[in-house]
């Protein structure tokens, strides 16, 4: 099972000091978090993609390429890559290039984005969100698998005799996850292709997560990619830890109460009760995270959101230390012990784990 962190890349004022990082500081903080993730033994760093303030990561492959050069083991991913407003041809090229530079340590998670004006800024219409996700991915999927592509769709210029370069490393396309909070069409899409399905697991009560993952698993089996338990599932999670749980709650509360995504809403206690947010001791994080398995079954990737709500870099790095030292080793052991027979690991490029070269990476091609 893979463990990692995902960063939205928001520039947020620290409510306890009133200080707002500069774009330069925030970008360097994201890099520092990624390097620290590898240092403490995590497997994955994923960057968001945004095209409006207060976010900085508009160009994920630039950042991930830089991180790739400074790491050896970490898998670089996205959370999420906008399949709606990016040209699928450019996604095919950018991520294939990154895959070569990172020696295969790349996958990506596709999402639709939720900022209305981004669609018209990139010449699209938000009402076509699902249709764009479908058509653009259909093209991206072909560009990585067929050397020469003829294409005629609704949303972009037709292609005749087009070859996306570079070709995927060793002919193996980057593994793709499809992320969606509440659209059954996206779970259906992930299942159809035999790709991974990721639920951000942050904003919704667990019943909604359960419903989306269950749909994906059933349809994965329906489309002949394997049994339901062989489907590839990833979850987000949101934690804040101190050794003693009262200290964690005391320190995190002002960040929670002013956070752009939930500030001014429910109390921290209600929010923790209704969503997977966990603020407490490492043991509480372990217990809560292990319980995700009761909701979605054995799953392959757990990403934590740590750098948000204006938390300073120093505190985020301390969180990574706690994750790496006290939480993830236990989670690895416990999840592994509980895992049912026949449940696969998350697919990675053969160069990442040579021992797993025999594993089919691309169920659609198998």
């Amino acid at each position: 099972m893979q463990f990692g962190v995902f960063s939205v890349g928001a520039v947020t004022t620290d409510p306890t000091t009133g200080r707002t990082p500069t774009d330069a500081e925030r970008i360097q903080a994201m890099v520092a978090i990624a390097l620290k993730a590898e240092e403490v033994g995590l497997d994955v760093f994923a960057s968001g993609e945004h095209h409006n303030p207060p976010f900085v990561p508009s160009s994920p492959t630039t950042m991930l390429g830089y991180i790739a050069a400074r790491t050896n083991r970490l898998v670089l991913s996205t959370a999420t890559t906008l399949i709606t407003t990016n040209d699928p041809v450019k996604i095919a090229e950018d991520y294939a290039m990154l895959q070569h530079l990172a020696d295969g340590r790349v996958d990506l998670m596709l999402g639709r984005g939720n900022t209305g004006p981004v669609y018209p800024w990139f010449g699209q219409d938000i009402r076509n969100g699902i249709a764009l996700a479908y058509e653009n991915y259909a093209l991206l999927h072909r560009l990585w698998r067929e050397d020469v592509v003829d294409w005629d769709g609704k949303f972009r210029t037709p292609l005749t005799g087009f070859t996306a370069v570079p070709r995927p490393l060793d002919g193996v396309p980057p593994f793709v996850w499809h992320g969606s909070i509440r659209s059954p069409e996206i779970a259906e899409q992930a299942a159809y292709y035999g790709d991974g399905f990721f639920h951000n697991n942050i904003f919704w009560p667990k019943e909604h997560v359960e419903r989306m993952v269950s749909l994906y698993r059933r349809r994965f089996e329906h489309y002949g990619h394997g049994s339901q338990k062989q489907a590839i599932v990833g979850l987000g999670g949101q934690v804040f830890m101190r050794k003693d749980s009262q200290a964690a709650i005391r320190e995190f509360r002002p960040y929670f109460e002013h956070a752009p995504v939930y500030g001014g809403g429910p109390s921290l206690e209600d929010y923790m009760d209704q969503t997977p947010l966990t603020v407490g001791s490492p043991q509480e994080v372990i217990d809560r995270t292990l319980a995700f398995r009761d909701v979605v079954g054995d799953y392959q990737r757990q990403l934590f959101l740590l750098d948000h709500a204006g938390l300073p870099l120093k505190v985020v790095l301390e969180q990574l230390d706690l994750l790496g030292e006290l939480v993830v080793p236990v989670l690895r052991r416990e999840f592994e012990a509980a895992r049912a027979e026949g449940v696969p690991d998350a697919p990675v490029h053969p160069r990442v784990h040579p021992a797993e070269r025999a594993t089919a990476l691309d169920p659609a091609a198998a």
């Binding site: 259906e188 349809r219 209704q274």
Partner: protein, 210 residues
């Protein structure tokens, strides 16, 4: 015949509330008219006051609490709706609007709805026509021709048939709603999670001619 689910959504704030009083009268009248058509009715009430904080939280966080979700599910499963609000500043109350703001866009499409309101004087009554009716028209609900307004003084008047009194208007609106309910099959929610649309149908429908 299957039982029809009539859900009363009331935004009254006081205890006791004139809005709730009107809501209960409407619910009972609809039940009676359905009974005359040999249709059983189950009348359930959603008191929005109990969900006031959860509704505000839903706007902020993007998801409902468990108890608010249960109230929303009641409304989604309704064969007809009776929607009652006090008039605040020339329109329905903010609490009333919040509830309909958090429903999915097509949640009430085709659902028969009886709209009703309370206010201090009859001067507020046309708010039903210029505020409530357009709201439900936007939601593609089937609003009954008669809307019911109850001013304070109406509670002190006797009602006789065809006199334009509150009692007569309640009866007329309830008859219209019962007729609308009788004309449609009981609701069966179609669950896109239980019965997903196959991918190729979805992909195909997105590739409409160009």
């Amino acid at each position: 015949m299957a039982e029809r689910a009539i859900v009363v959504v009331t935004a009254g704030l006081n205890q006791p509330s004139a809005t709730r009083l009107l809501a209960d009268r409407l619910g009972a009248a609809v039940e009676r008219h359905l009974g005359e058509r040999d249709l059983d009715a189950r009348v359930e009430v959603v008191e929005l006051r109990e969900h006031a904080v959860d509704l505000a939280n839903h706007l902020v966080t993007g998801f409902p609490s468990r108890s608010l979700q249960a109230a929303i599910d009641k409304v989604l499963g309704a064969d007809a709706l009776i929607a009652v609000s006090p008039i605040f500043s020339a329109s329905y109350s903010g609490l009333f609007k919040l509830f309909f703001d958090v429903l999915e866009r097509d949640a009430l499409a085709g659902t028969p709805v009886l709209i009703a309101a309370t206010g201090g004087t009859a001067r507020h009554s046309l708010a039903l026509e210029h505020a409530f009716r357009p709201l439900f028209a936007y939601l593609n609900a089937a609003v009954t021709p008669t809307a019911v307004f109850a001013a304070s003084e109406d509670w002190g008047r006797a009602g006789v048939p065809a006199d334009g009194s509150l009692v007569e208007r309640i009866d007329r609106a309830a008859r219209e709603l019962a007729a609308a309910v009788a004309g449609v099959q009981p609701s069966r929610s179609s669950d896109t999670f239980e019965n997903p649309v196959p991918f190729e149908d979805l992909l195909g429908s997105r590739h409409t001619p160009h």
